[in-house]
């Protein structure tokens, strides 16, 4: 009897090294862990990508604003910008200028509702730009809210197997359960590890997006006012 008890107890030596925690886990827990690690990788990829994108966009907008308000003629600016692919304010400017040009190209310029058309075009461009900036941000939000639950699921599953181990060893010793529970809690740790940066990054990036979009809207309104003055002066 004594030997039996000892053998069942000594069989469960706890190895809490990084790999052991993963490899000794149940297949479900393993899948959960792998999923969480994948989510974490994906989240960080998005965070890096968006951060780079926003900083680049901010720089472009700054440069465009200085050029725009430098007194350079809009025609010339449009000429230089037209050839490349534009983002942010430049895109709004180019779309509005294109509409303006087209309206004046024909023999009979369509100036009657030019103002509305330009506004519409700028709105569409703005929306497209905002969409581009906000894309994949929802993934961050999803991971941030769901990852803890996924990790918890892995933990619950691991604890279930740990308790089955108690039943199998017929011992109420905590040492029998402890390794299983430690291993199960590792899943929750991974879930939190993925979720916390995702939530923080989502909040930061979405505020950045709204700031950038607000800035573009401001520019669009200003430019619309300028064009409207031009139209009225010419008309």
């Amino acid at each position: 009897m004594n030997e039996l008890v000892q053998s069942t107890l000594t069989a469960q030596d706890g190895d809490i090294s990084f790999f052991a925690l993963f490899w000794e886990a149940h297949i479900v827990v393993k899948l959960v862990m792998m999923g969480l690690i994948g989510a974490s990788i994906w989240c960080w990829a998005i965070v890096v990508d968006k951060t780079l994108l926003y900083s680049r966009l901010r720089r472009q907008m700054n440069r465009f604003e200085t050029v725009f308000w430098s007194g350079q003629s809009l025609e010339e600016l449009y000429g230089t910008l037209q050839s490349r692919s534009n983002h942010g304010m430049a895109a709004v400017f180019v779309s509005a200028m294109r509409e303006w040009k087209r309206s004046h190209e024909g023999a009979r310029p369509a100036i009657a509702s030019l103002q509305q058309r330009i506004d519409k075009v700028m709105d569409v461009t703005l929306q497209r730009e905002a969409e581009r900036l906000e894309s994949r941000l929802l993934i961050l939000a999803t991971v941030g809210s769901a990852a803890p639950f996924i990790g918890l699921f892995g933990t619950v599953w691991g604890i279930m197997t740990a308790f089955q181990a108690i039943a199998a060893s017929e011992s109420t010793n905590l040492a029998v359960v402890a390794p299983g529970i430690a291993e199960a809690l590792f899943a929750t740790a991974l879930g939190l590890l993925a979720a916390i940066p995702a939530v923080i990054a989502y909040n930061k990036l979405s505020s950045d997006v709204s700031k950038a979009v607000g800035r573009m809207e401001g520019f669009a309104d200003e430019f619309s006012a300028i064009l409207s003055r031009q139209i009225d002066e010419r008309g």
Binding site: D13, A45, V48, D49
Partner: protein
């Protein structure tokens, strides 16, 4: 997007690598084998029945006794500290010093004795020799005396020379007595000390023990569970006369003699009687039950406890009364 993905994968793999390097050093915790706890069956009678002994004693010993109360006092004092002689012993240390001087001292003291020399003159007969001694030390004598007197207690000034000889006697008594008395008391003391160390239940030497005077002598008791086992074993074979009138009151008290193998050595004896006509059937059913379940499983070590067993066959317990 690709740049972000690459950066993220690189970051994660770096973190994992760091984890692989840093965390495997964590000591793996090996669970120590758990010792099984030995469980002993303890007879509950130890708690319910008081043991025979003295109420004053603090220690519970194997053998309870009433007589030995005298033994401890004998045991306690060391052989040298006998109550009668303890007073006498005190003078012993100063004894050697007074012995040389008792003879000169008595003569000067009874009289006013300012000058020892005039005394020596009126008593010529004893004098000649002491005089020679005292002549040499007439004056130092009074100075020397007080010292031994102080040590030997105030007796000398008040008491006549007769008392003075007495101190020497106890000295000799003390010297002699220890030799005689040492033997007996020491042996007794040694015996007393050896016995508790022996600690076996069969020792005849009595030793004071905590308990009450009405308590039982120590005998191996069956534990409650063992008694229950015996009871259950017998109950299986017992078919009480359920249908009889007043069956509930048909309590049969049986005395069974058992051999060491658990067999019945003497035929069961009915210890009580009842006016109920069904009592004969009840008692015979009880005897039958005892005979049928004959080999009983009881611990041989406690054979003394179950050599003779008295069992109450109470139908109420079986009938759920």
């Amino acid at each position: 997007m690709r740049a972000g993905l690459i950066a993220s994968v690189a970051g994660h793999s770096a973190l994992l690598l760091w984890g692989l390097i840093a965390l495997p050093d964590a000591e793996s915790f090996a669970t120590k084998p758990v010792d099984t706890l030995p469980v002993e069956l303890v007879p509950i009678s130890e708690l319910t029945q008081l043991r025979k002994g003295e109420k004053i004693e603090t220690e519970i010993r194997e053998v309870a006794a009433v007589k030995p109360t005298e033994a401890p006092p004998r045991e306690a004092p060391q052989p040298e500290d006998k109550p009668g002689e303890s007073v006498v012993q005190q003078p012993t240390p100063p004894a050697p010093t007074p012995t040389p001087e008792p003879e000169p001292t008595p003569e000067p003291e009874p009289e006013p004795a300012p000058e020892p020399e005039p005394q020596a003159e009126p008593e010529p007969a004893p004098a000649p020799e002491p005089q020679a001694e005292q002549a040499a030390e007439p004056e130092p004598a009074p100075t020397v005396e007080p010292e031994p007197q102080q040590a030997a207690a105030p007796v000398p000034p008040n008491v006549t020379p007769r008392t003075k000889p007495t101190p020497p006697k106890p000295k000799t008594q003390v010297a002699e007595k220890p030799k005689e008395t040492f033997d007996t008391t020491e042996i007794a003391a040694l015996l007393n000390k050896v016995e508790p160390a022996g600690g076996s239940t069969s020792t005849t030497q009595d030793q004071a023990s905590l308990g009450s005077r009405k308590g039982s002598e120590t005998t191996p008791e069956l534990t409650v569970s063992e008694l229950d086992a015996l009871r259950g074993q017998i109950a299986q074979c017992w078919n009480p006369p359920v249908g009889a009138i007043g069956a509930e009151s048909l309590v049969v008290r049986l005395k069974i003699g058992l051999s060491q193998s658990g067999e019945i050595s003497s035929s069961p004896e009915v210890m009580n009687s009842n006016s109920n006509p069904a009592f004969g059937a009840a008692s015979s059913s009880a005897v039958r039950a005892v005979m049928r379940c004959a080999p009983y499983n009881l611990p041989i070590a406690k054979y003394d406890a179950w050599r003779d067993v008295i069992i109450n066959f109470d139908p109420r317990e079986l009938l759920g009364g």
